[in-house]
Amino acid sequence: MSSHDINVRHVARLARLALTEDEIKTFEGQLGRVLEHIDLLKKLDVTDVEPTAHTHPVYNVTREDVPGPSLPRETVLANAPRTANNLIIVPKVVE
């Protein structure tokens, strides 16, 4: 296993994404080449460099805690795949 081998089957599971055997094979090849390219970054010395998460760091942005109108329940539920009694229906989670 070279350093650019990516275990697509495992990662897909983490991402909650089912893939076909063909997709797994294709992605392993394509993403292996992308990771090989990305290895460029290892050439750089980044000791003592601060990471950038946002280009304009703004911290603790809060707004007044004032109640306001929310979206109507029926508008929100209209986009749900399955509903009943103003609730979203999902498969049983707890046995």
Binding site: V11, A15, L17, Q30, V46, A53, H54, H56, P91
Partner: protein
């Protein structure tokens, strides 16, 4: 006079002089759209009757009164479909207006139609749309660029005077370049992202595509500003972005990054861009060679950060609260796995996998954290450059529009073509692509864009420089073949 050929500014003058009305314009555009759409396919859907009703009541004294503006399918317009060109959002109706839409409406504009794009804005060709392929108005066998390909194609085929797009790594500027219109990516934080379906939250920014720099400035005036619904939007003094459009290029210092004119650029594109830069210098600009030493790392940094953020943002599409749900799931895990499998296209899956991988246990520091550190170095390159120059001038894309299907199986090659646009998103600065001429590729003549980049929040200066170039570019004499 063909109303479809007019810019926003010209339409507005006509409205106010009572030469024609917003209804006249919409009726003209609808005819135009009917004749060009069978080959361009820029729209996913459009509601002409609703727009007509808005046009009938338009107040043309407002800043954008009565002007139709097309909307990329990633931006919510209340009551309309909003799918980001993905199967997973089939049937979804936007329950609210994005802040940019609310602001356009307040300014009197008429948001019109849903414009095609690469699924979730992931792509550079609009071939990743789950709906259909949009073609380049200059050559229907070629791609319009992407991801805002529908927006660029609609504007250049004279279906609409202007449109909104979104730009995460070049998705406004690159299609503007490949189709031959103006596309502006504002600085990060300039425009609210509330109501834009998120791709990479630290890079995404909404901006205009139009047929002139002035029109982009007019739209930016309407959509910019702090929004309590987006904590990353910046609280800045109000600014008129059209204020510096009368400036010329005399004494303007333009930086030419030496790293941008090396390998990988199509020679015809290079020649077109170099002659455009010469026009800037003939018009009085001072050309300064600069260095952006970390250029070669930008694509790698981008594809780590953008996919990492995307993998988190797209976790919300799980088949539970909205969007597509797989039939007869045997349990909740099966519902997640299959709803996402059936709902997402290949490129989106590929990027979710890459993004999940670079964030996963054991790899986070080697990839994601390192990429964020190199992002700092890229940002510093630009800060140092803008000490010496007013703006940077360079190609928008190393190539012209390529034939449909040519890149489909080579994602790395597609990613590498983003080299000139992605650094602006990583650094949070503003950038604009302006048409600068045609270059020949395998017998076809295709548009080339010239990109100007300016430091963060320097849009007024950027637009002034772009507009001054536009007036000497000679582009107005070039007529689109469609």
């Amino acid at each position: 006079m063909d109303l479809a050929t007019l810019t926003l500014d010209e339409l507005q003058k006509g409205f106010r002089a009572k030469a024609f009305t917003p209804v006249d314009v919409l009726r003209t555009l609808e005819l135009r759209i009917e004749s060009t759409e069978p080959s361009v396919h820029a729209f996913l859907t459009r509601d002409f009757q609703e727009a007509l009703k808005a046009a009938e009541h338009a107040d043309v004294s407002l800043p954008l009164g009565g002007l139709p503006i097309g909307i990329k399918d990633a931006i919510n317009v209340k009551g309309h479909p909003c799918t980001s060109a993905s199967r997973i959002l089939e049937g979804y109706l936007a329950p609210y207006d994005a802040t940019v839409i609310a602001r356009l409406k307040t300014a009197g504009a008429i948001p019109f139609g849903r414009l095609n794009m690469d699924e979730f804005a992931m792509g550079s060709s609009t071939e990743n749309s789950s709906a259909h392929i949009t073609t380049n108005p200059w050559d229907s066998s070629r791609i319009p660029g992407g991801s805002s390909g529908g927006s660029a194609a609609a504007v250049t085929s004279l279906e609409l005077p202007a449109a909104l797009g979104s730009d995460t790594g070049g998705s406004i500027r690159q299609p503007a370049s490949l189709c031959g219109c103006v596309g502006l990516k504002p600085s990060y934080g300039r425009v609210s992202r509330y109501g834009l379906i998120a791709f990479a939250s630290s890079l995404d920014q909404i901006g205009p595509l139009a047929r002139s720099t002035r029109d982009c400035a007019m739209i930016l005036n309407a959509i910019a500003g702090r929004d309590p619904m987006d904590s990353t939007s910046l609280d800045l003094p109000e600014e008129d972005f059209t204020a510096r459009l009368d400036q010329d290029l005399k004494g303007v210092r333009l930086g030419i990054p030496k790293e941008y004119f090396v390998e990988g650029i199509n020679p015809a594109v290079r020649a077109t861009v170099e002659s455009a830069i010469k026009k800037c210098s003939d018009a009085g600009a001072e050309l300064v060679e600069i260095s952006l030493p970390h250029t070669e790392y930008a694509v790698s940094v981008y594809y780590i950060i953008a996919t990492a953020e995307a993998s988190a943002n797209l976790a919300r599409f799980d088949g539970v609260r909205y969007g597509k749900r797989a039939e007869n799931p045997k349990d909740l895990m099966d519902l997640y796995l299959r709803s996402r499998e059936e709902g997402f296209g290949s490129e989106v899956k590929r990027r979710i996998i890459l993004g999940t991988y670079v964030l996963s246990s054991g790899y986070h520091d080697a990839y994601y954290l390192r990429a964020q550190k190199v992002r700092t170095l890229i940002r510093r390159d630009f800060e140092a450059a803008f000490e010496k120059v007013d703006a940077i001038v360079c190609p928008t894309s190393p190539e012209v529009a390529f034939p449909i299907g040519e890149r489909a199986n080579d994602p790395l090659k597609m990613y590498l073509a983003d080299i000139y646009t992605i650094a602006a998103n990583l650094a949070g600065i503003c950038g604009i692509s302006v048409p600068c001429g045609l270059a020949e590729d395998r017998g076809a003549k295709l548009p080339v864009g010239l990109q100007f980049l300016a430091k963060s929040l320097d849009e007024a200066k950027l637009l002034g420089i772009a507009n001054a170039y536009e007036s000497v570019s000679g582009w107005k004499d070039i007529v689109s073949p469609i």
